[in-house]
Symmetry: C2
Subunit: 132 residues, 2 copies
């Protein structure tokens, strides 16, 4: 696999990470994601890591990078589906993902992005529904 | 990887297939998916294959199987994100996925499931939004 699919869901983009990331795959994901944020005008990025048993420091840095780039493009990053063991490992590694919001699952992550849109006074974004 | 993550989005389940399926992975996905349909009461299954360059006859049969099992559990299967080359290959292989609905992307697939729920007189399902 050379590309991770990015799905558009309303005003958010959803990425499901299922495999260990290597250098080139991570770079490709960061590039694709930032291009798609700009192209789609997305205001949120949901990264689902429920398929991962382990998160190493490389993956932790990648999540931080994606969040930092997305923030500059005015999109909020929410990491969802983290397993308890992964959370423990990240803290042990000293990677507390301070720039990244987390939510238990995709639905709660969506709600978080929706709340932010409402708070910032933007129109109701109809997350998850089809546009015109 | 031994499991493909299944994400709940409102009344639908979303699966993103990013890797070539082998026997055991396909069996695990079918089992997990049917268990999750029952546990969550989902009425639709969205299978995103936008990450696949190629679909072979094994994958075609798997999609057909998933659709058949889901239908028996009262959930509709929609395959989304199919690339043009994949559609051509499937037809050439004689696998026209007659039991499977298709949609261009996740949002249109969601809309299809939503329409079906509305038509069958069930309550508005708020696909993609957080439940109570």
């Amino acid at each position: 696999m050379d590309r991770i699919p990015i799905l558009k869901l309303g005003r958010a983009l959803l990425v499901t990470i299922q495999v260990d990331m290597h250098d080139r795959l991570a770079t490709a994901l960061e590039e694709d994601l930032s291009a798609k944020i700009v192209a789609s005008g997305a205001r949120g990025v949901l990264i689902d890591i429920s398929g991962l048993d382990l998160v190493d420091s490389f993956m932790g840095r990648m999540l931080d990078n994606i969040a930092a780039v997305s923030r500059m493009l005015d999109a909020e990053t929410v990491v969802v589906g983290m397993r308890p063991a992964v959370a423990i490992t990240l803290v042990e590694l000293g990677l507390e993902l301070s720039g990244v919001k987390t939510a238990l699952n995709v639905e709660r992550g969506m709600a978080l992005i929706q709340t932010r849109l409402t708070e910032t006074g933007l129109e109701d974004a109809d997350l998850g529904e089809d546009g015109p």
